[in-house]
């Protein structure tokens, strides 16, 4: 699959959200952001992302619950979208669990440079 253009970024920490949005937008991606589950589902009603960056630790509905919903409910239109989990737990068991529920990979926020996010999307296109 080539040409992952539309990116949805679900992250409740505004500074990180801005940082990642800027990094992705600078690289030419169309980025929509949400800071919780409700906002994310609202955005999905009018925006069809090719790739979703999904924070695990969210107020209210967690990132994993959103992931499960997105992968099990075709109404959201995200059955084929690439989903990358954002985490700072660095617990691989959490990440593995997410991947079992349909995630395509995970990013440890403290370890990644924001400028590397486009490279992440690129690596997902290589299949």
């Amino acid at each position: 699959m080539a040409g992952l253009k539309n990116v949805l970024l679900v992250e409740d920490e505004p500074m990180i959200r801005d940082l990642y949005r800027i990094a992705l937008a600078d690289s030419g991606y169309t980025v929509e952001v949400a800071d919780n589950a409700d906002e994310a589902f609202t955005k999905l009603g009018k925006f069809q992302p090719d790739c979703i960056f999904l924070d695990v630790m969210l107020p209210g509905t967690s990132g994993l619950e959103i992931l499960t919903e997105l992968r099990s409910n075709p109404a959201h239109g995200c059955m084929d979208a690439k989903i990358v989990i954002l985490t700072n737990l660095a617990q691989r068991s959490v990440a593995d669990n997410a991947m079992e529920h349909g995630a395509d990979g995970y990013v440890i926020k403290a370890d990644i440079f924001p400028r590397d996010l486009p490279k992440v999307i690129k690596s997902l296109e290589e299949e």
Binding site: D104, G105, F113, S123, L124
Partner: protein, 741 residues
Amino acid sequence: MGGGANIPKPKLSRKLLASFLLVGLLPVVIAGCVLSIVALNQLHQDANAKQQAIANQLSGRVDDYLNKDTGSLLYIAKLYTSYPNLLDQSLSTLLKQDSSLEKVDVLTTNGDKKTATLNSGQLQIVTSKIDSSDTTLDQLSGKSKMLSVGRDGSNNPLVTIGLPITPVSGSTKIIGGIIGYFNSVDLTKSLPTSGLGQGGYTYVVDSSGNLVTHPDLGFLQAHIQISDIPAVAGFLGGTYQTKQTNSENGDDVLSTSSNTLSGFGVIVEEPTEQVYASYTWYMQLAIGVGIAAIILCVLAGLFFKTKFARPIRRLALGAQRITQKDFSQKIDISSKDELQDIAAAFNSIGSDIDKLVTDQKSNNMSLTFEQSKLSNIINSVSDGVIAVDRYGNTISLNPPAAKLFNQMPMHLKGKHVTDYFNPTHDGSLLKFDFKEPGIYSYTDLMLNLGEKTTYLDIMIAVLESHDNDVAAIITIHDQTASRELSFMKLDFVAIAAHELRTPLTVISGYLDLLNNEAIKELSVLNIENLQKAIVGTNQLRELINKLLNIARIERGDMEIFIDKLNITQLVQKNVEQHMTVAAQKEQTLSYTSNAKGSVYVPADTASIVEVLNNLIGNALKYTPKGGRIQVNVTTASDHVRVDILDTGPGVPTDLREKLFTKFYRAERSLIAGTRGTGLGLFISKTIIELQHGVIGIEEDKGNGSIFYFTLPTYNSERDDGLIEKNISGGIHGWFKKRTPR
């Protein structure tokens, strides 16, 4: 001294006496019996033989006597045949010669009867006619002799001998007969009783059982026919054995009969009492010997009783007293033999026991005191203490132990420890074993009682023991509270570290943005300032990561995901990533390996990267400017070894042991002015050991230090199914899901 009723009875002396009597008397009695029987038998045989001999001898005499009388009459008969005129003269001569001849009858066939007697020494002849009823001549006809016994006027027996008178010698025709009447006085006299014992006598009967002679004249005159007397009946029946019978007088006698040629029987009698007189003497002798033996035995028994039984009884009494806990008494025996030795030994043992008992009493007192002290100590400790025997049965337990099981101590005593205490260790039930002495410690045990879970450390001290002894002491330390506290601390560290990561991410992200985007607009000084901020942020990230790792190790949450890892490639790449830092310190960082091609290990990539970062990072940190750092991978058949050699100051020997513990840093490194938490080596050690490797430091050779770690080599059989980890597409912090092959 009480308990007199318990003194042993003097059985031994009685037994001794009885034994002596038995041993002494039995042979005497047996010998006496045997001798009596033999003697009786012998006497009997002797008496028989003697009576037989006498009876036979006397039979001969009777015959001789009768033959002589017969011969006298035969002479007259023959003389009468030839010279009838000489009859009177010859009769007179015969009557005078033979005092026993009372009367002679001469009968002739013409009916004359001449009776000759001697009256006051003068022959008196009476001539008469033969009575018509007299059949004497008829009886004599054809016979050579007629013998019978008759009685005279005084009822004395008369032996009547009749002979026929024939014309010619040997003719059967008779012309008359001569009949002689003999009294039995001479016959009686001719039967002496010599050879018979006192009271022995003999008598004669004719062939019809009529009494011929008897020494008792009164008896003789009173009895004519005695064929019913046993001895006579035996003779008449033709049996002449010697037997014990009743005599004609009713006496108990030994009698023998014997027949004579003339048909008379001789009976020899001897009183049984007399026959066995010598036997009675034997018996008296035997009884006397027996009595003497009894007296001897009793005396001997009394002697031995005094000599042995009494000392033994004293010993027995002494032993009895010891069982009654009287150890102070002495046994006084001066027999100068083994018994005296035994008594001496007994006295010595008694005094030893007395001393022991006294000691024991005082020991017991101090022991009781010590026990109550010990019991107080055990009851007052806050840890649970259980004492069990070798089978695991509870002997005692203190209140904290009972409280742990929500029970009263007395309710658990005697129960097997597993009846109420079943902790688990790593998920499996702890098996108690109280056989091998030693001290066994178990930590992090779980005990589930109802809904409550308790965490325990226990120590089992197994002692050398016997039945009913305390075999093991189980000390239980309730770790639940401290474990909860410890987890709270670790959780706090984990949460704090995690919370720190968010601002760290923000800082590091914006600094990177500045470094990439705004760098053109910054002055040289600000660029340097920005770099310093970036370095500090990186150090903060490392610190936070390490703290998180420590918290996980402590909680046992360290995650290891084993992949098939290309170790040579990983080490080489890691070395390359450190090149920039090395270059900044003008250090030479190099990589060498003896491996041809790729070498694989089953390992968790992320954690091995962390170990390499720690070891190579430390080497770079502690090696002075311009120094050399060499990373060397050596492959062996079953493991891979990675050595990190530096030209730094090295690690003093005494500090090496502490090097891999938590929060340790060698002092020298502080002096050297470098910074670090000391957590890296502890984390690295945990990581390598979790993956079955070894980590350590080589002996200092004076030119820097050599850190190393090993990992087991990938084994296609054991590690089949592991997927090779792709480490080439490295975007730091990005982990892509593996595409199924």
